[in-house]
């Protein structure tokens, strides 16, 4: 608490696009209530606080930290650990910190592939001397440093324990507000909870569903979908069957299949596995040849199924080359026990 009695709020962005920062403002005029109710002590996107200001705080001094963005480099990891230490309640805000989101798609590649493409091979790059960013560079004036770029993108809870998750790319304002109100009222759900609904997007989707028998998958530009019938019934890929509700089925309402940004629904660890099970079940074929013919119309299945959740999926990333692997044990970060309550 501040001297004025207000709870202290911090907001931070790690590897993210900035959309989550904007989504905080999507609560519209209620942002004034938030500013009134909280003492904002750290928000690099909006206010002029620095890392040293956070360092100077006592451990646990921040009441709530809304952390958006995935963990892609050593700076992200450092800030996650610093803010965790300084915060009583850590909230993974948005799909990047919750599931990995778009930054997590980098886990289809490794560091070498990424750096080579970005700094050498991309069509708009001219870098004949193959200059790459270095963690440390010696100059007459001293040593220049940059964060270390990791092989693998991680979610926030793979680096530090997290109390609550606000899913979505970005989270819908009503849930941001619900979380803020819950924090202010002290009526918090058990640690480890995802703030949102437990069911899937289909439960919020107004489209008419019938028994599915898919004979061909279409890309969105290939057909003009009927506005009242389930998109999956029409052969358009929709991740709504295995995605947590809470958005109000925004995308299916405008003729676009659900992308899956709210992550898996309650009780599901691997969103992609559920999409594989669900999509494969409704393919209308019984022989390997017929099945393959239909699946050929669904290019990039891993990209569809793990568009938002690759970094939090069971396999986490693609296989690395043999020389890049290690056999060392993975250190387990302490998990919060939901049964402990508050």
């Amino acid at each position: 608490m501040s001297e004025n009695g207000k709870p202290k709020l911090a907001l931070y962005w790690a590897s993210s696009c900035g959309g989550c920062e904007i989504s905080v403002l999507a609560v519209h005029e209620k942002i004034l209530d938030v500013a009134e109710a909280f003492d904002i002590v750290f928000w690099p996107c909006v206010m002029d606080f620095k890392e040293k200001d956070v360092e100077a705080m006592a451990d646990g001094e921040i009441d709530v930290c809304l952390f958006n963005g995935a963990i892609r480099n050593s700076e992200n990891e450092h800030m996650a650990k610093l803010l965790r230490r300084k915060s009583k309640v850590m909230v993974a805000y948005g799909s990047c910190s919750h599931e990995g989101c778009m930054p997590g798609l980098a886990n289809f590649f490794d560091r070498e592939q990424m750096l080579n493409f970005i700094y050498v091979d991309s069509p708009s790059t001219d870098n004949p001397e193959r200059v790459f960013p270095q963690v440390e560079t010696e100059k007459p004036e001293g040593t220049l440093t940059l964060p270390e770029f990791y092989n693998t993108v991680k979610t926030l809870d793979q680096v530090v324990p997290v109390e609550y998750y606000l899913p979505g790319c970005p989270p819908e304002a009503q849930w941001t507000l619900a979380a803020v109100e819950a924090i202010l009222s002290g009526e918090l759900p058990p640690p480890g909870s995802v703030i949102g609904l437990d069911v899937t997007v289909c439960d919020e989707c107004p489209r008419e569903r019938s028994e599915k028998k898919i004979t061909h998958f279409y890309r969105p530009y290939e057909i003009d979908p009927d506005p009242d019938i389930c998109l999956l019934d029409q052969g358009l890929f929709c991740a709504g069957i295995a995605t947590r509700a809470g958005c109000g089925a925004l995308c299916p309402r405008v003729n676009m299949g659900c992308r899956g940004c709210y992550g898996p629904n309650e009780g599901v660890e691997d969103q992609g596995a559920k999409l594989i099970a669900g999509i494969a079940s409704v393919i209308d074929a019984r022989t390997p040849e017929d099945i393959d013919a239909i699946l050929d119309t669904l290019p990039d299945p891993a990209g569809y199924f793990y568009r938002f959740s690759l970094a939090h999926s069971m396999l986490h990333r693609t296989a690395l080359a043999e020389g890049d692997r290690t056999a060392q044990a993975i250190e387990e970060v302490p998990r919060l026990d939901p049964k402990l309550g508050t």
Binding site: K154, D157, A280, I330, V333
Partner: protein, 163 residues
């Protein structure tokens, strides 16, 4: 593992209650010889196989996963093995994009009378996985370039599984 002959793969088997699990029983009671590489788990039907089971096995240290059920048209629940056929096909396409070789996840059929078919399938798959070598999925997640190897939620590592 320098000598591939010494490599004993760990294969997790998901066998349907009505056909393939009985085939495994028959192979045992008939004293058929086959490699001791399979750790079989009985499921009521291959249609019960959640693709997450396969992912969990691979993440947890298995080198391969063998799913076996009733022959097409002979499912105890009529449709279950057709669902498995489609799911495994889509799962394998997805796994290929993640760098898992297709031989590591296989689907086969064996009726309750086909102990020989079951034993031969295990022997065949064991040889294929031996040729590929260990999967060691945990090694993909723990290297230094991942930030000192800290990764919660992925506790299982090589050799730890089901031995």
């Amino acid at each position: 593992m320098s000598d591939l002959q010494e490599f004993q793969p760990v294969i997790v088997g998901f066998l349907c209650n009505w056909c393939s699990y009985r085939a495994a029983d028959l192979a045992g009671t008939s004293r058929m010889g086959y490699p001791a590489t399979l750790r079989d788990i009985r499921i009521m039907c291959t249609g019960r196989l959640d693709p997450a089971f396969v992912l969990k096995a691979l993440r947890g240290g298995a080198d391969g996963v063998l799913i076996m059920g009733c022959h097409p048209g002979q499912c105890h629940y009529e449709e279950g093995n057709y669902k498995a056929l489609r799911r495994v096909a889509l799962l394998k396409r997805t796994l290929a994009q993640l760098g898992v070789e297709p031989e590591r996840v296989q689907l086969g059929w064996a009726s309750a009378a086909e102990g020989v078919v079951f034993a031969e399938k295990v022997a065949e798959m064991t040889e294929q996985i031996r040729a590929l070598g260990p999967l060691r999925w945990g090694g993909n997640l723990a290297d230094k370039a991942n930030g000192n190897g800290t990764l919660a939620g992925v506790a299982a590592m090589d050799e730890e599984v089901v031995s």
